[in-house]
Subunit: 316 residues, 2 copies
């Protein structure tokens, strides 16, 4: 079965669909970080998005694309991260039932966050098999629609709307950098950016300790993430067929970085922009700091994916 | 000698004078924090001001008010905190020399920050006497103008401009809360708010461990801060004659809070607003959280004073 890839028009439609439900996030700049990098950086702050991450865009678009019958039957997913909260809140706001399968070793703060958004939490054993089986049972029982966190056409279109806003504000960028985990944000970003101006480079930033997208991109086929080790807890997942197909065709380069530069970049953003971002966001700036000559003099947009971090546990 | 107090018109003039040099800082809101407090809160984010704190407003106004001769001779102060950086940067941007007397046990990060802004740093022994003597010597030698961090008419007018912006955006507030240390921000805020609408209450928030302003307000005369103990390192200083006179006349109430609620409030703001603020800013929200009944149903503006914190050293 050949895949249907999202195009710029799909992302523009998604933006019209969701724009009254989401925050138009700000773009911040820092004279000092520009001096340090020798480039001109524009930080698109999805940490200020609802639920604290870009995931709310995709979840909202996926829900608004459902027909009335599907809406009446609700949505479901398995996730212990930002997608769980995003889907629960997007469903609640639209008066739809959401069931979230979560591993029973999830931190209670994450389970409670989903419950705060009125999501039904179903706990299961902490294995991928248990998560998938439990989700299947729920779907069989309720007839609800599964919304995958990233390998979903409408989710990808929603995630691409952040880049649309960025380029609406700053059309003359040379490069846009986004982090890559499962590839939802990256494939949406690449589709939006290349659709608007194919001369703008799209670069993915990935932790070296979870470099499956880098390896997949090089090999031309999906290499799964095995035992990834990184503080970027949002970037542990592997690409899937749809996100990989988009990335293969529309991303110019994937660059990996080590953990220390990611921490350094995160600290620099906290200190200078005075915003809280999660490590997965900082990988974008880390790529620039580690490759200054490559990026010198360029105007670069960086998608800061989110700001959900347990800073009581985080050690600098 | 009777003191001349600043009035609303002075603050409006200060705002016209400095507005092209400062950031108009954003006002943020949080549905969740509103739910927790039962009030409607508007956070005026001076952590996004240049040098990361409101101090840049006052320093800029003081410098722009100098005549040409005074400008040619430069400015000086003693400070190891945000005022040092604020004065150095405001001077640099206006092509003026700034000399900052700092105790020789100041953290190197603070000394370097002043030097980064091209301020002349003069180190002295870490006593108030040494600071004052050293400053006096410099003034005698250079003929420069001393800019006190808060007990200065033009500095107070500059600090009040944040409240002007807040009320321009949200004119129907019931209450404005600002932290109090030396009283520069508070006296400027009170002057602006009461000048615009005397029905809006002005409340000061102070750590219980540094409650000299609370005691002074109660007693009707300045009670000095002796061995203050609080994580709010920006609120350790005592009131001076000018700030006290304004506060006595224009502030409705000073409320103190313990350290744990300040930490809790700071965490809530980091987690929910996704911004980095310093403890001295969090004391405003802590006052509301500790007195929910008093504030229920009110529309409240909170001045978040700054975001300069050494979060590697900060322990939750």
């Amino acid at each position: 079965m050949s895949l249907i890839l999202p195009e710029l028009n799909d992302i523009i439609s998604a933006h019209s669909r969701i724009k009254d439900f989401i925050h138009k996030t700000p773009v911040l700049t820092s004279t000092l970080i520009n001096e340090i990098t020798g480039a001109e950086l524009f930080f698109k702050c999805e940490n200020f998005q609802k639920i604290g991450a870009f995931k709310y865009r995709g979840a909202t678009n996926a829900i608004l694309c459902l027909d009335d019958e599907a809406k009446s039957k609700g949505v479901a997913t398995h996730s212990s991260g930002n997608h769980a909260q995003a889907l629960a809140l997007a469903a609640k706001i639209n008066g739809i039932e959401a069931t979230i399968v979560m591993p029973d070793n999830s931190p209670s703060v994450k389970i409670n966050a989903v419950r705060d958004y009125k999501g039904n939490v179903v706990l299961c054993k902490p294995t991928l098999e248990a998560r998938e089986t439990t989700l299947e049972q729920i779907v069989n029982e309720k007839g609800c629609t599964v919304i995958h966190p990233y390998n979903n056409f409408n989710v990808i279109c929603g995630q691409g709307t952040s880049a649309i806003e960025l380029l609406n504000d700053y059309s003359d960028l040379d490069i846009v950098i986004a982090p890559v985990g499962g590839g939802g944000l990256l494939s949406g970003t690449a589709t939006a950016v290349k659709g608007i101006n194919k001369n703008i480079k799209v670069i993915a930033a990935e932790p070296e300790g979870a470099n499956d997208a880098f390896l997949s991109f090089k090999k031309g086929e999906i290499v799964s993430s095995i035992n990834p080790k990184t503080i970027c807890d949002g970037l542990l997942t592997s690409l899937c067929d749809l996100t990989f197909e988009v990335i293969k065709n529309r991303v110019d380069e994937i660059i990996t970085v080590k953990e220390d530069p990611i921490k350094f970049a995160m600290k620099l953003i906290w200190q200078r922009l005075k915003i809280v971002i999660e490590p997965s966001s900082a990988v974008t700036l880390a790529v620039i700091l580690e490759n200054k000559e490559k990026f010198a003099g360029k105007k670069i947009g960086l998608i800061l994916s989110g700001g959900n971090i347990d800073f009581e546990k985080f050690v600098w």
